[in-house]
Amino acid sequence: MTAYINGLSCISHHNTIDENYFFENLSTQPPSNKLLATEPVYKEYISAASMRRMSHIIKMGLTAGLMSMKKAGSEKPDAIIIGTGIGCYEDTDTFLRSMSDNNEQLLTPTAFIQSTHNTVGGQLALTTKCNGTNFTYVHQNLSFEYALLDSMMLLNENEATTVLVGAIDEITPSLFELFYRTDRIKKTEDLQSIWNSTSKGYSLGEGAAFFNISSTATPTTQAKITGVKCKQHIENADELIQETDLFLRSCGLQINQISLVLSGNCGDEQMDKKISEFNKKINLPIGYFKTLCGEYFTASGFAMWLAATIIKKQVVPQAILPDSQIVSNIQHILIVNHYHDKEYSLMCVSVC
């Protein structure tokens, strides 16, 4: 199965809305354990009347989706498929707090309406007048991968010509607090580069990445996705190498054809143990994408955006490389991701 990326957009901690700006001005920012998104001027994409009811994640998702459509020169996709780890958490939080504070009385409709996981998919369908397939996958760290897999199957079976596929997740104060209390988030004093990390926890991130994909190339095609594979559990680095080898064979590739690996190390030494060993053993240039976006359920969406943009620009941002190596003639990028040392995924992005 192959899918062509004809338009893409990303809202993340860095200014990824303008890819030229991103590549030219990317600097190593002061380390933080909370990587909030750099947001665009939403009113350029969403009417004020609609926006007043939208929470942070809905604005991010809707805007990124519409930007992706614009770049692909598309007005309406045949299907909208979205992956999100925890969906509209802020609205869920607001609604539940209101239930608790008001003894389950006097509940207002807005937060409840917007709290469902598929709100962004619904808003995109309303805005683009798309009444085709509309699914939202909520499978924690594999949400985007399953959304992508479904999108590629729709294309492969000719049930859709173009699909808008996206990845969205947000940080809310209560989510950050919850993750911090359970030691998932790195203490400020422990912050260091992901590849040198010897401490527990990670920097929490958020963002929205959207892709207009089709089964055939168009004049706006930037890269192609040649495969997606998910694996709930990996025993050790050798098994990951074996799975990668099998995966790449299914994509018609061998491991020595990979120009760059975008590795999903999160910065927690223990959680990263297997993937770090994998990175050492495969002897390929490694880029650590969570240096830029942090860890979140759909960070692989950011990795997909980064891979397709690297392929287009033929430049790897120095900020994701552990040393000053130069990676050139980039033909195939392998994305290897994991979450808490489980829910591993492999994705391959190639030049057209």
Binding site: A49, R52, N102, L106, P109, T110, I113
Partner: protein
């Protein structure tokens, strides 16, 4: 009455998340729905909850809602007439 109007303006801006509006932008006699503030049916539900939550007034007959929520002034009149 003028204090109640100002209070209602602030409550409506907060409850309906009308962040673009300032209290002075709301004309007490302009329609809340349609041409005036341009509110919709979801806002109507929010206003019903606002009346009950902040002013302790429950609308008994839904048919009355259209007249009560015609404008900010009509809301204030209803609150004064029904305040216990």
């Amino acid at each position: 009455m003028s204090n109640l109007i100002e209070t209602l303006k602030a409550q409506i801006i907060e409850q309906l998340n009308l962040a673009e509006l300032k209290p002075e932008d709301i004309d007490p006699n302009a329609p809340l729905f349609g041409d005036g503030l341009g509110l919709d049916s979801i806002d109507a539900l929010e206003l019903i909850v606002l009346l009950e939550k902040h002013h302790g007034i429950k609308i008994q007959d839904p048919k009355d809602a259209k007249a009560i929520f015609a404008s900010l002034q009509s809301m204030a009149d209803y609150i004064i007439a029904n305040k216990k």
